[in-house]
Symmetry: C2
Subunit: 364 residues, 2 copies
């Protein structure tokens, strides 16, 4: 049987640097644990535009559909700021999400003990925090039609459409309830049902799926603005949050920042099971391409490495190996090994991106 | 000449309690400073629904259009959760905003020294914070058509439309630039131009208005998700933030919560100048109707009282009187007078809603 396959799309900015460290980890699993992957690489984002005039070549899209999972670094940078909307680096990522139908985006917001001091929040508010935001990723205002900039009378009008079908809401709700069952068994659903009809439908469908299929999970509903407040006030009240594409974008970024561990946070974007039973999947760090520090060996590769750990768990059913990798990361942190973003007043050993990767390999 | 007129819409929950304290302040200005207002009162929200079957009666709407400004308490409560969308308490508030054309919503996020400890953020992150979020309030996804829940094939679909015209963006941008000139001269505009065409138009128009009319103001642009992050990380980097209706809803609530002073924060919703030169205006606290503590004399009336101070400043050109009222509030806080929400570990004198109002009158 062929080895499981991974397509690496390192992308722009610090993407290639942090992905280089993931490749070391993949190499270690092959050499030391006999767990081999067929790894191929390709371009996405600005670098793909530079080469092909499009942020995602059709051949790359086709490859992404065939592999067992995609690992993505990051896309975008100031060089591409003035490109036409249709070829911006982000469109490459959005096309992957849409065409692979990765409707469920799992974004853990977890506070690493060693880093609790980095949070702008008080230690007692974030210490030990461990919540997951499940963001709908293939619909809503990101993809709804009509959209565009039109002329009406003598002025321009910008239009986007928020659009959710019942089945789109139902499937991401199921994914949140399934996840909650493996965690704290609690889901909070967020929308603006007091203002938006799409929010009313969202609330109804989440409630229906709950009542019919997951009555054992504790479900609550919150308006998204109140949700933003509560995340800032006392995030530990949550276990799993489920919300739409746009609210999920803002709320998960705020939650990630609150942990103080932004350079540490992975994410998984999951779709329906493929013929081999594995879900369509793409894994990527929550942080962006950080063009200001790109190419300087300063980036923290841990978020990308932990994204690979999520791949081990969700795509390859290797939960024990994922835990092994996560423990190696924790050990390295406990030993005081620190990339620049993790250097706090209490000191530690400052290391480069590559030395951090080496330390994690050594700890494995 | 007739006295300037104010329509009080106390609304639901703690609305009537906090508004009772504002009436004491209004009485003080009449008795002690010879500044008299024609005050009338009416219903909005759930209480209007209870009486008239609609959250805002047409007669009330007509009155709101005639007065010099509206003071609003809060709307909503669990009693009304299952009402039809079209008659929910919130629709009363949204109708006022829309028909009075109150396009510019000023939401200060200010951290009161005496209360910095209440923030979930570290003191150095929020101490002295003083920013304003200018939220577009009459357009965007709150009001765009088509909207509703439809049936397509055999499932329901929820639809809302984000829609911004050039002139809608231009006028709220002007209002943000004007405000910035009277403050730190810095505006940050937030949208999702990387994902939404309405965000592209937003960014372009804000930039054009800046270049043509306000080149002296420092302007930057940020994606709204990054904005949510930066508000949580280091809010003091901002002076004035301008953003659309929906992003403004989430971002201003998060910012308000971060200050730790939620029960203290007023807001102003301003429209175009009327025949008498005064802007159409509605003032209301940022906090909601807090049904859990309603009717118990526990609510903090300061946000509502400071909303009246904003009315003195923006509607009646009484900046000195507004400052007098703001100083009275500060003095009372410095003296340790505290409603329940302001009681911290350092103690203070616990008082009721009404005693807080009395203390502020005494300090005036
Ligand atoms: C890069 C951008 C298109 C993307 C989004 O808005 O979804 C990013 O912010 C994210 O959250 O993954
Ligand atoms: C009550 C509700 C309709 C309102 C809004 O969403 O605008 C509130 O959250 C606010 O921010 O004033």
């Amino acid at each position: 049987m062929a080895n499981p396959s991974i397509l690496i799309l390192a992308g722009d900015g610090i993407g290639p640097e942090v992905m280089a460290e993931v490749k070391k980890i993949i190499g270690w699993y092959d050499a030391k644990r006999g767990i081999a992957f067929d790894v191929s690489e390709d371009l996405v984002g600005g670098c793909a535009y530079d080469k092909h005039g499009t942020p995602l070549h059709d051949d790359t899209m086709a490859k992404a559909q065939e592999v067992d999972c995609v690992l993505l670094g990051a896309v975008g940078g100031p060089k591409y700021d003035n490109l036409d909307f249709s070829v911006k680096p982000e469109r490459g990522l959005l096309r992957l999400r849409k065409e692979m139908d990765l409707y469920s985006n799992l974004r853990p917001a977890q506070c690493f003990d060693a880093l609790a001091d980095f949070s702008s929040l008080k230690k007692e508010v974030v210490g030990g925090l461990d919540i997951v935001i499940v963001r709908e990723l293939t619909s809503g205002i990101y993809f709804g039609e009509p959209r565009g900039i039109f002329t009406e009378g003598n002025e321009r009008v910008g239009i986007n459409t928020q659009r959710y079908t019942e089945s789109e809401i139902a499937r991401v709700a199921r994914s949140a309830f399934e996840l909650a069952r493996r965690r704290g068994n609690k889901v909070c659903s967020m929308e603006k049902a007091n203002v938006m009809e799409s929010g009313i439908l969202w609330r109804q469908v989440v409630q229906e799926i709950h009542d019919k299929e997951y009555p054992d999970v504790a479900l609550s509903h919150m308006y998204a603005d109140a949700g933003a407040m509560q995340l800032c006030r006392w995030p530990k009240q949550f276990d799993v949050i489920v919300t739409d594409n746009l609210f999920g974008d803002l709320l998960s970024d705020a939650a990630a920042m609150l942990t103080g561990s932004l350079g540490m946070l992975p994410s998984a974007s999951l779709g329906a099971p493929m013929a081999n039973g594995r879900p369509k999947a793409l894994y990527e760090p929550v942080h962006g391409s950080a063009p200001d520090i790109a190419g300087q060996g300063k980036a923290n590769p841990i978020a990308c490495i932990l994204s690979f750990a999520m791949a081990l768990r969700y795509s390859f059913d290797l939960g024990d190996e994922a835990a092994r990798l996560e423990q190696a990361v924790e050990k390295v942190l406990a030993d005081g090994v620190r990339t620049a973003d993790l250097m706090g007043p209490e000191g530690g050993t400052p290391v480069s991106t590559s030395a951090m990767g080496d330390a994690i390999v050594a700890a494995l």
